[in-house]
Symmetry: C2
Subunit: 195 residues, 2 copies
């Protein structure tokens, strides 16, 4: 493997294990065993487990932003339809994943929000980027006449992202898609209604 | 201390430590040290750390239901005002707690929803009880003409409880009350609007 491949293998294995077990519960040893990378080599790429975790968050956030942008820039559809297609795709993903794991960023926020200021601050930053993407879409939807002019796209985006995270939490607890389906129905049929 | 006092002291200390650190990260030793209860005595009250965790969940859920019922049965106010007062009181609580800890039940759902079937199932049960209390209130609000007749109180209650949990997660990440304030504004001014 090239150096870049090794680093990427470590990040990928770490992302998957932390998604399943949480950050505190994930041992470096398990990541090294999964990837076959020696400990000394790990510290060539990452200064600490914390540094590793922060790089995982940034990579996950960038990948999420890239996928979201694909949906939100699909000009075949109206702004609100684009947002709906994104959530529909996420619902299909979770259906095929048996309602497990939920959102890595939400999981880490729940686990580390009070414990670790550097993680908390990093997660706050990536959630703000996510909200901004949704707010831009909702601004377009408003310009397009799809949502009423008196609603604030930034506040709606905040509500939308947070309510989605809460629906994913309940999906994980109930092992059912109903919470995310109810989220979709009420978001699109009531909150973002033309009025 | 009486036997009941000892058991209660263990449950209270456990609730607080698990609220801060999560279940996996909480050691029995810390609970014993905090309460001054010997290990043998702990196993007199609880068959295992799992049994202890399940009793903490049930006690927390009952206490939450009791407080929620005080608000929802306050007949000086309309059904929707009662629900609003409950969320306002929770917001004040979190303001005084520096946006820390969030909801114990939500935290445990996030942490254990994929890891531990017995906890997952217990949490699903207590969340269902919570949703039912809110659904009953929203049914009264509908009978009272406060929310439109075409909306489904059970689905609204589900959306409301889950979105609240998502707002609490983001409050913890942002260390700001803004997510819960935005939740309140959009819930009461848009979702539950008379239409």
């Amino acid at each position: 493997m090239t150096k870049q491949d090794t680093k990427q293998a470590l990040l990928q294995a770490g992302t998957q294990i932390i998604r399943e077990k949480g950050f505190n519960h994930t041992g470096l040893q398990e990541i090294l065993l999964t990837t076959g990378v020696p400990k000394g080599s790990f510290y060539h790429y990452f200064t600490s487990k914390e540094d590793f975790g922060l790089q995982i968050i940034e990579q996950e956030a960038q990948e999420h932003e890239r996928v979201l942008a694909v949906y939100l820039q699909d000009e075949r559809f109206s702004p609100l339809q684009r947002l709906r297609h994104y959530f529909e795709a996420k619902c299909e993903f979770f259906a095929s994943h048996h309602c497990r794991e939920g959102c890595l960023l939400g999981n880490l926020g729940q686990e580390l929000g009070d414990q670790h200021e550097i993680f908390r601050s990093k997660l706050a930053e990536v959630f703000a980027r996510w909200r901004q993407q949704v707010a831009d879409c909702l601004q377009h939807a408003q310009d397009y006449g799809e949502i009423p002019p008196h609603l604030d796209p930034a506040a709606l985006a905040e509500f939308c992202v947070n309510s989605w995270e809460g629906a994913l939490l309940q999906m994980k607890v109930s092992k059912s898609l109903q919470p995310v389906q109810t989220f979709m129905t009420i978001l699109f049929d009531t909150v973002l209604q033309r009025g």
